[in-house]
Symmetry: C2
Subunit: 137 residues, 2 copies
């Protein structure tokens, strides 16, 4: 589960990266063995269930455009399966708790998975969007 | 659903990025509206359910090491919620079909979600692993 200072969706930033807020991921003791080696990493990818999202939304207008796009071409929390992901910086690890920066989840969100962030697998500086997709706006 | 030349897990590469194999993602017509704007993107993040994974595995030894790590510090398909992700290059889009490179899913895997890849959000060349995590080995 995620403990976050964002109490509802209106508190949360459009993208976690826009804020340096610290959230705490609490891993159920039954799964804490899966954390072995996390202390050797700087960044993880956190997957959580965005349970306040609309699962019926297929097309929407993002904050950075007046045009509409399909949710599969966006990072909107609204999508048929609202599995949200954030690349997060690890701040500290204490027992079954991980403090991270850049997580946009609201307080109480369920964590689905955590994976190591790999520059080899995940960093594509050449990736392009031919729309005006300025996600950081 | 994913149509892939990888028919079982022994066919699939350790990481999709290691091969230039082309797979086809077929979006159910009921969700195809969500594809609007995909044609303007070069890379997407594909999430699929790795239904042949072991959901009981919490610690494992990756291909690149003799040591064991927790699954949350790895990219192993084995994990409590086997939501696998690959950053994929779009090759072509035709109606409700998306051809992509670098997807490591086996044939018939269920697609959970697709998101735009954003260099702003997803590219962290400074990310480090202090173990010998050489995922491309």
């Amino acid at each position: 589960v995620i403990k976050s200072p964002y109490k509802d969706t209106s508190d949360a930033p459009k993208q976690g990266k826009l804020k340096d807020t610290i959230a705490t991921i609490i891993i159920d003791k039954a799964y804490a063995a899966g954390m072995k080696g996390l202390e050797e990493l700087s960044h993880i990818i956190v997957f959580y269930w965005a349970n306040q999202s609309s699962r019926k939304t297929l097309i929407t207008s993002p904050p950075w455009s007046d045009q509409t796009y399909g949710v599969f071409a966006l990072r909107s929390p609204h999508r048929p399966n609202p599995i949200n992901m954030c690349v997060c910086e690890i701040v500290s690890i204490d027992d079954n708790k991980i403090q991270v920066k850049h997580l946009d989840a609201i307080d109480g969100s369920a964590v689905l998975d955590i994976k190591v962030y790999s520059t080899d697998l995940d960093c594509y500086p050449e990736a392009i969007t031919r729309n005006d997709n300025n996600i950081m706006k």
